[in-house]
Symmetry: C2
Subunit: 195 residues, 2 copies
């Protein structure tokens, strides 16, 4: 028995318009936020995208988007997809392993409870996020789950540096567009959560 | 670009010796703990296994094991595998969705930080674990990551019932066997964590 998860075809097509290297946090985030928007516009998933980059050169290793609904897989969040594809490409389960450059993950908001753990185990040395406040949940209605109260410090303690608030307004604009388009929020037990 | 994750062949072979239905929590856990042992004995991953069952009938829907190292995928934990395969079989991203029986997840210890979130989003209505204390980390050296201090209540708040301490000693015995066999602990940044 096996599971196959596929990144939508439009991702490779869109990436062909971008350079190989993304020099600044903003360059990387701008692309990721654009992909978060394209993902629901193309109907291939929720408004979330993530990318793995070589930290120093800015070379893009992988781009992932949320494909939960079309894949029938509740774990197929953007971060899990980006991290798994990067690990497949580099043939390692540890993106911080010996003999390879350091890698970082860029995401269009703070990872949910699951993806927070996925970041911990991936070997990335940095996490760059557009924001970490309640805006995502408030605008879209997605439940992001409970995190440890010292979630940032727990990342740092494991050698993962966090950069927050990169193009935060642009990220929220996409969440608002998603909501205005009646984007489908699929959290199981959502009614329990919102009670 | 896609990712394919495969359950080792021995899982189906072993399952053929079991009945279709597992009536009690102990019946379900005994099989899962046995699989957690077989997984490192066969060299197919760490000492972790998980299964999705129909809550009322005890019908086994899927069994997953940790395949992080052989798959080069740090997210390929037992819980993610079991949940994803169950969702693929039932063709839904929500194991608690309308028109299907309620499902529960059985795991040989408290899920790590990542799999905790995966449980939240999967739609299962119950989580049955062998234990939730520090024993796993202390015996094996695996880092399980930081959880929200009210992690059990946060599950219940989303309609997921938790049963703890099912065959706890048997689970720990497997962890000890893993350690005595010099089982490979692959946590990235482990040295940072243990400092």
């Amino acid at each position: 028995m096996d599971i196959t998860l596929s990144i939508p075809d439009w991702v490779a097509r869109e990436l062909s318009h971008y350079p190989e290297f993304f020099l600044t946090h903003e360059d990387r985030m701008r692309m990721i936020i654009h992909f978060s928007k394209l993902n629901f516009e193309y109907g291939t998933g929720g408004p979330f995208a993530a990318g793995v980059f070589e930290q120093n050169t800015g070379k893009l290793i992988s781009a992932g988007v949320n494909i939960v609904v079309p894949s029938n897989c509740s774990s197929a969040h953007a971060e899990i997809m980006a991290l798994s594809i990067a690990q497949k490409k580099l043939e390692t389960f540890d993106l911080g392993g010996p003999g390879i450059p350091s890698h970082g993950l860029v995401v269009n908001w703070r990872p949910c409870a699951m993806c927070y753990g996925a970041v911990l185990w991936s070997g990335v040395r940095s996490l760059v996020i557009a924001g970490s406040g309640k805006e995502l949940e408030e605008i879209t209605g997605f439940d992001e789950g409970p995190l440890h109260q010292d979630w940032k410090e727990e990342l740092k303690r494991r050698g993962i540096n966090v950069t927050d608030n990169v193009l935060s307004d642009d990220a929220c604009e996409v969440f608002r567009a998603f909501t205005e388009n009646n984007g489908f929020v699929y959290n199981p037990c959502r009614e329990n959560h919102l009670k």
